[in-house]
């Protein structure tokens, strides 16, 4: 398993770890059975992501992709954050081993899940804007990373 220096840097010194007590968008994706859970907290004011924090249970790549995803959306508008792709996270980390690409997908989903929660709290149906977020149990079946 060969990780880039950037992945190791974000793993050993992850940015934005923790919780936001007064977050107005919180999302959690993944499944402990699969070995990855990401929880993301957003503090959004006037359509801008003022603060973002995460907590992750998972491998080195799961922690690094969470950290990088928070860096990529911090200070951005909600619209910009909605455009975050897993590929952007992979590129910003100078690549990931093939077996770990699913971690970047999870990081993208964690952001979308937190944004969905933000819309829901405003009384807005998030699905037309954010799209469908896979439920954790469906994640497990569709990720194809393991045998169960």
């Amino acid at each position: 398993m060969l990780y880039s220096d950037k992945v190791l840097d974000h793993f050993s010194s992850p940015r934005n770890v923790g919780e936001i007590p007064d977050a107005n968008g919180v999302g959690e994706v993944g499944n402990a059975v699969c070995g990855d859970i990401m929880k993301m907290y957003l503090k959004i004011e006037n359509g801008v992501i003022e603060d973002v924090k995460f907590k992750t249970f998972g491998c080195g790549a799961a922690i690094a992709t969470s950290s990088m995803a928070t860096e990529l959306i911090k200070g951005k508008t909600v619209e910009e954050a909605l455009k975050l792709t897993n590929q952007a996270v992979v590129t910003a980390l100078d690549g990931l081993p093939p077996a770990k690409i699913h971690c970047s997908v999870l990081a993208e989903q964690a952001v979308r899940s937190a944004l969905s929660d933000y819309y829901r709290r405003q009384g807005i149906d998030p699905e037309p804007i954010v799209g469908k977020i896979e439920e954790p149990e469906h994640d497990c079946e569709s990720c194809g990373s393991c045998d169960h």
């Binding site: 050993s12 070995g35 907590k55 992750t56």
Partner: protein, 396 residues
């Protein structure tokens, strides 16, 4: 605490020892002859080959002509299992028995035979990581061609009752193979006293190089040939011998088989200090596998709320080489089949750590591991949403 380098993954592989390298050097340089050649350079190579064979035989309580050199432990397992199954099939015996927590070299060989129409009984291990001889006795049928059970589990280090299982198989006249890759040098093995018909071992687990293994086949046991070709290894395993490595293996097994008890005492002290301290200081952790029936130099623990690879990466940053389950499974994202077999839920199996020691490790290594490991677990738990949930449930 000053940073150290601690190699604590000796169940994965070991460093080549100085005496082993010294023994090998002539066969990597001036003694390059082919053991099958008739001239003096070939004869000296042949003599070295037979000397190594005698050393392996002595360590196992076997005869030299029962020792076959292979390319690795996996080859020995493949040969024993597939060769015995195929030989059994010729006599109408198409049932084979193993356990559900073997090394993949054995497990996947059994699965391959299953695809070829053999019926396989996978004996379930208990929560302690053990198999009882009675389980084997009950599973044996008139059409059983082979029982293959590992001597020591590579991930959790439990020692199985091989002499008792050997006795049952001998009485039932069923062939018995054991994968002893993790046992050699740690447990006193004697193929005659323990009724073992076939046994696999690998050089690199006992300070010899990678790329050399052994299959012991008791005289009188007929199994199919695995590698066709020249007349090497009594025409049962073709291919020009990996002489330098074989010489290294001979030296290594001679050293590994001496003073096992004294060496185990030292490794046991390191192991127990880590187990006892970590169990006492870290909440929600467990030792995997029997506390008593385990390798002196191996431990496997699970820590709730964290994932194994993160733990290994952080230990690596502290200079500690360890493993999460088996290194052979690191390409997969599945938790270890061994930890699942002893009944661990997936989410706990993900957070496991194996530490395995050799004679080179010290009590200072144990202290350094403890003082590095505990803050790492705390740090990973502080950023884990799973740990957050566990704590919330505990406080309710």
């Amino acid at each position: 605490m000053e940073k150290r380098f601690v190699y604590a993954d000796n169940s994965a592989t070991t460093a080549i020892s100085k005496p082993v390298l010294d023994a090998m050097m002539p066969y990597l340089t001036e003694c390059y002859g082919n053991p099958s050649s008739v001239y003096s350079k070939g004869r000296e190579a042949k003599a070295a080959l037979e000397d190594a064979r005698a050393k392996v035989a002595a360590a196992l309580g076997a005869k030299p002509n029962e020792i076959y050199f292979t390319s690795c432990g996996s080859e020995a397992d493949n040969w024993a299992i597939k060769g015995a199954a195929m030989a059994g099939a010729k006599k109408g015996k198409k049932h084979i028995i193993t356990t559900n927590f073997e090394h993949h070299a054995a497990l996947h060989s059994f699965q391959a035979m299953e695809k070829q129409g053999f019926e396989v009984t996978y004996l379930p291990v208990d929560s302690e990581g053990l198999i009882s001889p009675e389980q084997v006795k009950e599973a044996i049928r008139p059409d059983t061609a082979l029982v293959s059970i590992m001597y020591v589990n590579n991930e959790i280090g439990t020692i199985l009752p091989i002499p008792e299982i050997g006795k049952i198989c001998r009485e039932a006249k069923v062939l018995f193979h054991t994968d002893a890759v993790q046992a050699i040098g740690n447990v006193a093995v004697n193929v005659v006293e323990q009724n073992i018909d076939m046994l696999s071992l690998a050089g690199h687990k006992i300070h010899a190089p990678k790329g050399v293994g052994v299959l012991y086949i008791r005289n009188g046991v007929g199994i199919e040939t695995f590698m066709d070709g020249g007349a090497q290894e009594r025409s049962k395993r073709a291919g020009t011998e990996n002489l330098a490595s074989i010489v290294g293996l001979g030296k290594a097994i001679e050293i590994a088989s001496a003073d096992i008890d004294a060496k185990n005492e030292k490794k046991r002290a390191i192991r127990d200090k880590i187990i006892d301290t970590v169990l006492e200081r870290v909440p929600r952790c467990r030792l995997n596998g029997s506390r008593e029936k385990r390798l002196a130099g191996s431990l496997n623990m699970s820590f709730e709320g964290i994932e194994g690879e993160s733990l290994l990466l952080m230990l690596d940053m502290k200079g500690i080489c360890a493993s999460s389950g088996s290194a052979c499974t690191s390409g997969s994202l599945d938790p270890s089949h061994v930890l699942l077999a002893i009944g661990l839920p997936h989410e706990i199996a993900h957070g496991s750590l194996r530490l395995s020691f050799s004679d080179d490790n010290t009590m200072e290594d144990a202290d350094y591991i403890i003082e590095s490991l505990i803050p790492i677990i705390e740090r990973l738990r502080a950023m884990s949403p799973v740990w957050e949930k566990i704590m919330a449930e505990e406080n309710n």
